[in-house]
Subunit: 154 residues, 2 copies
């Protein structure tokens, strides 16, 4: 059996287009338009560094949930989450102090609520982006048990 | 004059699609397909949390460069950067220990090399994502002075 590598590398490129906007690239992946947000003299309707930071945490939370659910045998019907990052300057310079995540999981009628909570708790703590940032991360989960597979309970 | 707000909020959503992939959303912005990377049992050719983390830093570096260049009156013809994040587990759990950025700026024939270095140095230190992460960030700049506006010097 081969040992798991100790390190992985992730590479992206950015290229300036005009004013405060440009493109974000990664080999073999679709390019993404990026810009400074309007509140910092930038542009509307374009992904920003601030969005991407919160997105890294939100997607890592989801992927850790999915991996842990597979590993632990949690059956679920749907998963979604909303993440809100707070950019503040407690000591004069801006940084993300907190990311609040609202997670919603829908389980089948015979679903295991306790296991779902456990998997969400693991995803909250063990995400590799959580380990890489100084922001406090907190997760507020909602677990729905579906009445049948066709219509989610309100 | 109105005081600058002390806080800004950035919100994104994620929604599971199938296996270890889903969509990343933000109001008024194009949706992005996201997945776990292949080395963690995921999928090829899709943006991952790891990519987005490195992307947040790379785009913040570019936007800070652009804002500072405008503020300091640096004239430049082109800007691009490549960022490589190292995911390692020095103490047993994975985190991004370092992001290395190679930045290239092209200046007009009468461009100010010293000012360009200063602006890059500021972007290296003062980016708000740099303040929000535990990873060491280092920037290796290359400054080209164009011989004329049509053809960059090799």
């Amino acid at each position: 059996m081969q040992a798991r590598p100790k390190e992985y590398r992730y590479k992206v490129g950015v290229i300036w287009e005009s004013e405060r906007r440009g493109f974000l690239n990664a080999a073999g992946k679709p390019a993404i338009r990026v810009a400074t947000p309007p509140e910092f003299k930038g542009h509307e309707g374009v992904w920003t560094p601030e969005d991407l930071f919160v997105a890294a945490q939100a997607t890592c939370f989801m992927m850790t949930f999915l991996g842990t659910a597979a590993h632990r045998g949690l059956r679920f019907e749907a998963f979604e989450a909303e993440a809100e990052g707070t950019l503040a300057r407690p000591d004069g310079q801006f940084l993300f102090t907190e990311i609040a995540i609202k997670a919603r999981v829908a389980l089948p009628p015979d679903g295991d609520r306790a296991l779902a909570r456990e998997v969400i708790g693991f995803a909250e703590k063990d995400c590799l982006i959580t380990h890489s940032i100084v922001s406090r991360v907190r997760v507020e989960p909602t677990i729905l048990v579906l009445k049948n597979h066709a219509a989610p309970a309100a």
